[in-house]
Symmetry: C2
Subunit: 207 residues, 2 copies
DNA sequence: AGGGGGTATATAGGACCGATATAGGTCTTG
DNA sequence: CAAGACCTATATCGGTCCTATATACCCCCT
């Protein structure tokens, strides 16, 4: 499902400019489960217009750049409802936070605490924002919002209950840079066999 | 944080081939919060080698393509621990499922039920996999895994308790294609003022 | 014997993001 | 009241990354 389809869906909720669509992704209805940038929205709208799925009428306001307001056409509505029937991509979650936390033993407790505080307030803010009043975009909007609120609240709860564990790891001795260096750092060791052995163990550990 | 840094982190956990790194993202330690494809991993390893952050020794097995095993250098370790101190990108969640659910009123109850069943078993499988035995990559690996398990379990609980709401929306009358079409479908209406008015209302509704 | 799936590397093409440019408007605060 | 910060609004370039594909050989099952 590419940005073109996403824009089509956005316009199904009401006519809008590229700027307004972008805001739906940044602040609005879509903000907690989708992203799209100007760099993809504007080209998408151009192509949708070429394909006859949307129309565009410019509204010029004095001394301002034209406002291009896009509307879905009947053809666009059809195309969109058809797109909704196609198989969906899996949900994706990307967290550099968790990646860094995985290496807590290389960090200072202060760094770990700082990152968790940050993440915690992010989740709190989102849980807050999504449990807000039921201003509605579609009948299902409440269902979607509450879902988000619940998940973010679960994150908050987990972090508050378990943060001491990672913080302890970061604080533990023999972690970090001052720990004694291993022998094989600068170049592959002279003994490939030994190296391979160690590698096997490490891989077993990882999986 | 680009794929180069991610690969560096992966190699910090033990020497590996490009193929093995890819598996860490697909099945392994990173799988539930990161993604990276061959198309980015192989070029990343090449560049890391050029920059002296990793080394590569080929292990040729009879009648098989060379296996290129990569190892972090001291320089690579330093670069990685420094990368861990830089500001992190926000967590990202992308869900076409939620996007489609937002338009439940355009779908049949069967479609909605099918999608929820699918999503439910995805979450269940992940919750299961992440609450599994504590096979460890780093000291913090348990913390990260449990976090994932908790969040996926929260999703399962929410979907099971609330699925009837969206399913009811999809089943409700006056939804979908057979509903009477609005007047303004094919082209922008003849009255721009009226159009603008309606647009304002719709935008108010969305926010 | 043949197909399916696993190991393993590599690249071309396209989708998308991040940053930047432009340009005027409104709000804030010293 | 004026300077600076932020908002509206469109647009594009460079670079990163994913998808799909190609290659090549193995093992296992039927």
């Amino acid at each position: 499902m590419d940005v073109r389809t996403l824009c089509l869906g956005a316009l199904t909720l009401g006519d809008a400019t590229g700027y307004e669509i972008r805001k739906m992704f940044e602040d609005g209805v879509f903000s907690h489960f989708l992203e799209a940038s100007y760099g993809s929205i504007y080209p998408a709208l151009t192509r949708l217009t070429e394909e006859g799925l949307v129309t565009c009428h410019s509204e010029q306001q004095e001394k301002r750049p034209d406002k291009k307001i896009y509307s879905v056409t009947a053809k666009g509505r059809t195309a969109f409802t058809e797109a909704l029937l196609e198989p969906l991509a899996e949900d994706k979650f990307r967290s550099e936070f968790l990646f860094v936390m995985l290496f807590a033993h290389l960090l200072t407790p202060e760094r770990v605490k700082g990152l968790i505080d940050e993440k915690l307030s992010e989740h709190k803010e989102l849980a807050e924002r999504l449990s807000g009043p039921a201003d509605i975009g579609t009948p299902a909007a409440d269902f979607i919002k509450d879902f988000g609120a619940v998940v973010h609240q679960a994150s908050v709860d987990y972090l508050e209950k378990n943060r001491h564990k990672v913080e302890a790891i970061a604080g533990a001795p023999s972690s970090r840079a001052h720990a004694p260096q291993q022998d094989e750092d600068a170049a592959p060791s002279a003994s490939p066999d030994k190296n391979k052995d160690r590698r096997q163990k490490e891989l077993a550990r990882i999986r």
